[in-house]
Every structure is written in structure tokens, then in C-alpha cells.
């Protein structure tokens, strides 16, 4: 065994990395001594582009900020505009938004299933879950016209009403999904090798987690049931019955996996409730002529619980027809840089990609 350290560049071209980013590792033997995240391979300058586009044009590009789960971006943008402008949203639109957000969460978690299992070498899981994810994308396609980018939740409501019989289709998909989730459990969570790989790896100190800026499933994996849907309820989440998973675990990869496993079931529960309670009425509070649509001076800090954690926008309007500043803060901004760099020290190289997947590092939202 060699004694000196080796520099290992994990990425940007690397099958194990979650997207287009790079982690520079100093390894001794099989153990990581130092990790450094390098980002910027996906930087498009969204915040600059939004300064050049008017309020409605900006709405079409925000969904591109996060690829696996674009809807929290639309939701944030719409809610931020509504908060600054004081625009009312019809009740039906709120329910539809919640449904879309929860479906997006499910789709994102199913991609996570594939990533988490795939980084541990269990490719069958990814084939199943990413394949089944298409059923959710089909629903999106019928509702919004797009599989991945929906551009559906916009200021004032949603872009289209639900198609005929859509609720039944959603319920049918949910029934199917629930059946499949049990099979996923048998394949992944009951697998003793996966348990051995996941337990005791990537431990976040629960006492420090809040201070370090950890949010979302990693924070809930520490036994701190923090969720924007409960803490700062938006849309109609305060009228719905769901639970935030409270895992009494080790705050390791395994605990985070359990959080996501339970949250998928909660999401299915929420979607069912939303379909059941869906009010009739308007779905859209019409905005004025978008070319002349100015928004009064003001700022807003809005946040949405995405599949990876709290997704926040800080939006500033200077009273003109274009946003002054839209500052995006994705959960991976903290998880993928400071937290990851600290968690990886002392871990095995084999677990680097595994931990990254469990934190949900997503480069497009780190660098926008």
C-alpha cells in the first residue's frame, strides 16, 4: 500500500457523479483525506438573464434551474410575484399546485431511488423506478404538455385547468405506485447488503445540523422533523393531513433513505386528499397585458419544500416590468459544497458517490 496521497478527480466526466460537477479528492489508500467541490460547469447566469426578461418571460426560464424537479422553482417564482404584487390566487389553483408539487416530489424521489441504488451497484432498482417514473411524467404531459419542464404554475394560478377525468388517472397511478413501492422495499430496503453499505456512512452531527444549514431529508434524517410545508405552510398544506417523518436513527445514509421512503407514502396520501378535496371554480386570476405588466417595488423571501429540501427565492422588484433581482438558493448549495466537503473526510472512496446521492447534490441549482 502506498503511503503518499493520490489526487483523484471525481468528475466532471464521471459516471458516479450526480450531474456535471467535480469533487477533487485527496486519498490515502482507500480513504478520503480532503474533498473539495468544484462547480460552475453548468452556470448559465439565470439571475442575469432574468434581469433582461420581463416578468412573464422570466417565468418560462425559472423551471430550468433545477432539472430533476422543476416545479418548486415555478412555485417559488409565482408565489414571490404574488406576494410582492398582492395578487390573490383562486382556491382551485392552490389545490392543483399542491398536486403538481407532490407529483414532482414523487418523480424526483424515484430518480433518487435509481441514483442511490445505482451508486451502490444495484442497477435493477434504477431500471424499475426510473421506468415507473414515466407514469408520473405521463400525467405531467397530459396536464401541462411537457414531460420534464412544465411551465405550469405561474403568477396568478396555473396555466390550464385539469383535463377531463384527470383525477381518476392520478388515483390509478397512485394505486399502481403504492404497489410498486412495496416491491422497491423488498429489493432495496430489505437487502442486507444495502443495509450494510448504508448504515454508519456519511453521518451528520445532529447537534450541528441546523447551524450548518442542513435542510430537507438530510435534516429529517437527523431526527429533526423540519419541513417547510409544516413550518411555514404555503398554498393549502395547512388544510391537509400528512406527517413529517421523524426517524430515530443514526443520521447516516440509511436514515436519509428511510426518510425518503416514508415521504413517498406521505406524498401519495397528500395527492389522494387533494383529488378528493379539489374545489371547483376558477383556476387562474388573470394577469394584465404581460408586455406592460409591472410589479410594485418590494421584495419577498419565498420557500418551498422540494425533494431535496428547502428551495428558496429572494426576489426584488424595483417597480419596473423586469425583475430587479431573483436570487435562487437551492438546498444543494449547502449540501453539495460545505456539507459534502466535510462529510467526505474519512470515508471510503466507494462511498463518495453514495453519500452524494443521499444528500441530493444537484449541480444546476448550485450554480444556476
Amino acid at each position: 500500500m502506498r503511503e503518499e496521497t493520490t489526487t483523484l478527480y471525481l468528475g466532471p466526466q464521471h459516471p458516479g457523479i450526480t450531474g456535471n460537477m467535480m469533487v477533487k479528492l485527496q486519498v490515502r489508500g482507500d480513504t478520503v483525506e480532503k474533498a473539495e467541490t468544484h462547480i460552475g460547469y453548468l452556470h448559465r447566469g439565470f439571475e442575469k438573464l432574468m434581469e433582461r426578461r420581463n416578468w412573464l418571460q422570466s417565468f418560462t426560464i425559472v423551471c430550468r434551474i433545477c432539472v430533476p424537479e422543476p416545479d418548486p422553482n415555478e412555485e417559488n417564482y409565482a408565489r414571490g410575484v404574488e406576494e410582492i404584487e398582492g395578487r390573490e390566487v383562486p382556491e382551485r389553483a392552490k389545490y392543483i399546485r399542491v398536486m403538481v408539487l407532490e407529483l414532482a416530489r414523487l418523480a424526483s424521489y424515484m430518480l433518487w431511488y435509481g441514483g442511490q441504488a445505482g451508486s451502490a451497484g444495484l442497477y435493477t432498482m434504477g431500471q424499475w423506478s426510473v421506468g415507473d417514473r414515466n407514469y408520473i411524467l405521463d400525467l405531467f404531459e397530459e396536464l401541462t404538455g411537457g414531460r420534464v419542464y412544465h411551465m405550469y404554475i405561474w403568477p396568478g394560478g396555473v396555466r390550464r385547468d385539469l383535463p377531463e377525468g384527470f383525477g381518476d388517472k392520478v388515483l390509478k397511478t397512485m394505486d399502481y405506485l403504492e404497489k410498486r413501492l412495496d416491491e422497491y422495499d423488498r429489493l432495496l430496503f430489505d437487502n442486507s447488503i444495502f443495509q450494510k453499505r448504508a448504515q454508519g456512512v456519511g453521518i451528520i452531527d445532529p447537534k450541528k445540523a441546523i447551524e450548518w444549514g442542513v435542510v430537507g431529508p438530510p435534516l429529517r434524517g437527523c431526527g429533526i422533523p423540519s419541513d417547510v410545508r409544516k413550518d411555514d405552510p404555503y398554498e393549502v398544506y395547512d388544510k391537509l393531513d400528512f406527517e413529517v417523518p421523524n426517524i430515530d436513527g443514526n443520521s447516516d445514509v440509511w436514515a436519509r433513505a428511510l426518510v425518503r421512503r416514508q415521504e413517498m407514502r406521505e406524498s401519495i396520501k397528500i395527492v389522494r386528499q387533494v383529488i378528493e378535496k379539489m374545489p371547483s371554480g376558477e383556476y387562474y386570476n388573470k394577469i394584465p397585458n404581460p408586455l406592460k405588466w409591472s410589479i410594485p417595488k418590494g421584495d419577498a423571501y419565498v420557500k418551498t419544500e422540494s425533494a431535496r429540501g428547502e428551495f428558496a427565492y429572494y426576489m426584488v422588484s424595483d417597480g419596473s416590468d423586469k425583475p430587479r433581482r431573483v436570487h435562487v438558493k437551492g438546498p444543494a448549495y449547502v449540501h453539495g459544497i460545505t456539507l459534502l466537503e466535510n462529510l467526505l473526510v474519512g470515508e471510503n472512496i466507494a462511498d463518495v458517490s453514495f453519500i452524494m446521492n443521499s444528500l441530493g447534490t444537484c449541480p444546476p441549482e448550485m450554480e444556476r
Binding site: 482507500d30 445505482g118 451502490a120 437487502n191 447488503i193 466507494a350
Partner: protein, 301 residues
């Protein structure tokens, strides 16, 4: 005339091993695809992949050893193949085996990996270097139960030749899997490690090491290694069938037995994540070694 048959037989063996090995590779992908709810590639996909790799117009190498490593591997695979009786009594496929061949085989099967280690080391890719280290560590893991199983058989039947073991099986009327079950279990548990299928595929794990030792090998080098891998898979399967499952008296029997045996690591791999290196070694030194010891005790008394 004898010599001619020997030479032709050897050539036929290589062709057979290549064809069967590659087809098994294709069928494996098909089987795994069916498990994964997919149609999967056609059974001849691996032949096409291999052909394409040979036909690549360029293949960069980083020095002499990288040139040699794939050739080394394929030479070792063919040499090993030569010492294995493919069919029980045929004049054609008995090849060059002699009395001491089981011990020789143990060495030959290791030497291929060492050549690979040298070749991968020269590419300068840290992924390769780490992959090789892991490969050698893992080899230490699975070699122990495997050698224990073979030694148990050698003691029990007082022979070190494969044909001797096959004769013993014929003489007692049952396959060795029934007369020395513990050694067989130890050997079979070591098998996925030998094939480097999940859960023991950490050596070339794409998610960490970008396919590990082979990451700098492309074009004709990769093709040579694929060929060598196919032949070596056939070698290992035939060896297992010869030793534990009574060998085969015709090709159909051989193919059926090896394929059924092959499905064990494949199916296990399809539903397993991979072990880390130390976990893999721990696994091999757990139950498989225990079975090996029981096998040895059974053989001694």
C-alpha cells in the same frame, strides 16, 4: 495423426470457448434485462461490440506494458483453457492436461490478474491503480475458500488432477457435489468473486472508479480483454462443472450444465448492491471459509 488432432482440437477448443463465452455474455445481458422489465439486447450483441472495438481506427496506449497486458491476459486464458478437459472421454477436447494440473491451474488463474495489474499501473490513471489494488485484495478474499475447497478434494480423492477427480466421481457413481458438499458450497460461494459480478464488482465499479483497471483501455485492447474475459468465463465454468458436477460427455450437456451454473452469480448479481472491498473480503472469510474448513475436516476423516 495424434498430434494433428491435438492441434486441431486445441484450436476448436479456443473457438468453442470464445463462442460460448461471448454468447453467455449476451444471454446474461438479456436475462438481466428481463429482470429489469426490459427487452434487452439481442444475444449476439457482445459479438457486435467486440467486432466494433477491433475495427476502431485508433487505440491509444501509454507504453509497453499496456500493449502487453491484454495479450498477457488472453495468453493466460488460452493456456488455462488448454489444461482443462472440456469433455470427459472425447479425443478432441481433452487437451493437454496431466497429473498435476489442478495446482498449476491455481497459479495460472492468478497470473492473468497480475499481468493486468502491471498494464493498468502503466496507464497512469489513478482509477486504474485503485481498481487494481481492490482487485488483488478481493482475490486474496475469494482464493482462500476456493483453494480450501480444492485442497479438500485433493485430500479426499488423493489426486491432484482434474481427470483424476472426474474418474473418482465416475467410480463412486455420484458427482462430487454430493460426496463432498461442504467443499462444493465453499467453492460456489467463491465463484461470484471470481466472476466479479455484483456484489463483488467493486473492482471496476463505474460509479466510483469509472470501470477501474480497464478505464484507459479502448479499441483493440478492450476487444482483446473482452475476448479473454469470455474465454476465461468458459474456463471457470467448465472447471466447476468438471470438478463438482461430474463433467460432460457431450457439448450439449456441457452447455446446459455451465449455463445453469452461470446463472447463479448472474441472478445473485442482478438483485445485489456491491460490497466495499473490506466487506467483500469479510464475506469470503466468513461462511465460505467455514464451509471450506468443514470440507477439509470431512476430507481428512
Amino acid at each position: 495423426m495424434d498430434l494433428l488432432i491435438k492441434i486441431l482440437g486445441a484450436l476448436a477448443t479456443v473457438v468453442l470457448a470464445f463462442t460460448v463465452g461471448m454468447t453467455y455474455g449476451g444471454l446474461t445481458r438479456k436475462v438481466i434485462a428481463r429482470i429489469q422489465n426490459r427487452i434487452g439486447p439481442p444475444w449476439y450483441q457482445n459479438f457486435l461490440d467486440n467486432l466494433k472495438l477491433i475495427l476502431k481506427k485508433e487505440a491509444v496506449h501509454h507504453g509497453f506494458m499496456q500493449h502487453v497486458a491484454p495479450l498477457w491476459l488472453i495468453a493466460m486464458s488460452i493456456t488455462t483453457l488448454m489444461f482443462i478437459p472440456i469433455l470427459k472421454d472425447g479425443a478432441w477436447f481433452t487437451n493437454f492436461n496431466f497429473d498435476g494440473d489442478l495446482i498449476l491451474l491455481l497459479y495460472l488463474m492468478v497470473i492473468g490478474s497480475l499481468g493486468m495489474a502491471l498494464g493498468a499501473g502503466q496507464t497512469g490513471n489513478p482509477n486504474s491503480a485503485i481498481g487494481v489494488t481492490r482487485g488483488l485484495t478481493q482475490m486474496v478474499g475469494f482464493e482462500i475458500p476456493w483453494v480450501m475447497a480444492l485442497v479438500a478434494l485433493m485430500i479426499q480423492y488423493e489426486t491432484t488432477s482434474i481427470t483424476g477427480l472426474m474418474d473418482a466421481a465416475e467410480a463412486q457413481g455420484t458427482w462430487l457435489v454430493f460426496s463432498s458438499p461442504f467443499a462444493t458450497i465453499a467453492a460456489i460461494l467463491a465463484m461470484p468473486g471470481m466472476f466479479r459480478y455484483s456484489p463483488f464488482d467493486i473492482v471496476g465499479a463505474p460509479a466510483e472508479l469509472a470501470s477501474g483497471p480497464v478505464s484507459e483501455f479502448g479499441g483493440k485492447y478492450l476487444s482483446t480483454m473482452m475476448t479473454s474475459g469470455a474465454i476465461f468465463a468458459f474456463v471457470k465454468l467448465t472447471l466447476y462443472v468438471d470438478i463438482f458436477f461430474g463433467g460432460a460427455s457431450n457439448l450439449v450437456e456441457l452447455v446446459v450444465k455451465t449455463f445453469i451454473l452461470y446463472m447463479f452469480p448472474v441472478l445473485w448479481g442482478a438483485v445485489s448492491p456491491r460490497f466495499r472491498t473490506e466487506q467483500a473480503v469479510k464475506f469470503f472469510w466468513g461462511w465460505p471459509v467455514l464451509f471450506g474448513i468443514i470440507g477439509l475436516i470431512q476430507a481428512s476423516f
